[in-house]
Symmetry: C2
């Protein structure tokens, strides 16, 4: 970043800036972040993908942030240290904010185990723009689902800092949407989120 | 980032992923990055804002990245060191790529003085997704425009690493769009960009 990068925003011949409201109006929706949090294997990505597909059917404008597009790109080079894990979630939060500013409904699917980190993202956004979705799946179910046997490896100590095994998961105490996946199907989880968005006027 | 953040993308009960083509089709446009480069005060932000307003009139879906929304957010904490300046442009490139993946036409307005950094962003994107826009304004004109007297301060040595004064500006040798603002009005610059986008099938 150059020391003069930031000055031309003040030049007097600036005129019309397109704003969040205009971008959202074009999309006929109220932008927000659906912040999925839950254990590895809890179903965050599956549910988020299904919600995105449903929103596309409704001609809504979305974007899904997950390990696939973040880990090898923007957050490449971050380690698993405490500081870097914090920075990982901070950047995802800042990018979510940019997408909300662009009028998009963002779906963010990361374990994001720590309350403090989630709270920080919440505070970046305006009232009503952050929707916490707790994908609440018993760890035994997550372990069974895990196709790579990561839980097994974690238990043997072959993987360190594994959430739920060797690192804490701080469950949300007041999630906006609480999905108990042991008694709800994926379809029911999706409906629950879509109903929430409709009831609250996002769609 | 947790060591198990990345595994659930492979779980077998994943089904439909909404893709770039679907998001773009909904928006009736071909996403791309308009990468504005030029000296401080050259008119990057002014032209980019005017292009965004014009695209909104045409019901196109855009997002503008500039000092206002990047410097105090995602790239907060980066210094003016060589490494951090590189990292600044890298992150802007990665975020641009995410927006393109979301189907958006991105306008990025940063001095971005070094060819190598711009080339790296170019290489992040698919063919045709990166459009280099050289805002070519004589430095004397930039100096006159500058309302904060930053060029004066740079000449006195009060600001260091100031592009065009104490740090190099490497002009593009083959920009996709070359705007000679000493002989073109803002309107003509905007028209030139819109015509390019139409001719090449982005709109």
């Amino acid at each position: 970043m150059s020391s003069n990068e930031n000055n031309d925003k003040n030049i007097i011949w600036h005129d019309h800036h397109v704003c969040k409201e205009e971008r959202s109006r074009l999309k006929e929706q109220k932008p927000c972040v659906l912040w999925f949090t839950g254990l590895s294997g809890s179903g965050k990505s599956t549910i988020a993908n299904a919600v995105e597909a449903k929103l596309l059917q409704k001609k809504k404008h979305t974007y899904l942030l997950d390990g696939d597009n973040i880990r090898l790109g923007l957050n490449k080079g971050l380690s698993f240290s405490d500081i870097d894990r914090k920075e990982n979630i901070r950047r995802i939060g800042e990018v979510s904010k940019l997408f909300v500013d662009a009028g998009i409904i963002v779906l963010s699917a990361f374990i994001s185990p720590f309350k403090e980190d989630r709270e920080r993202v919440h505070n970046l956004l305006k009232k009503g723009e952050f929707i916490e979705v707790y994908v609440d799946t018993p760890i035994e179910v997550c372990e069974k689902r895990d196709p790579k046997g990561l839980y097994q490896k974690a238990k043997k100590g072959e993987i360190t800092n594994f959430t739920g095994v060797s690192s804490a998961y701080e469950a949300p105490s007041k999630a906006d949407i609480h999905l108990k996946t042991d008694v709800m199907s994926v379809e029911e989880c999706v409906d629950s989120i879509i109903n929430y968005l409709m009831k609250k006027g996002y769609l």
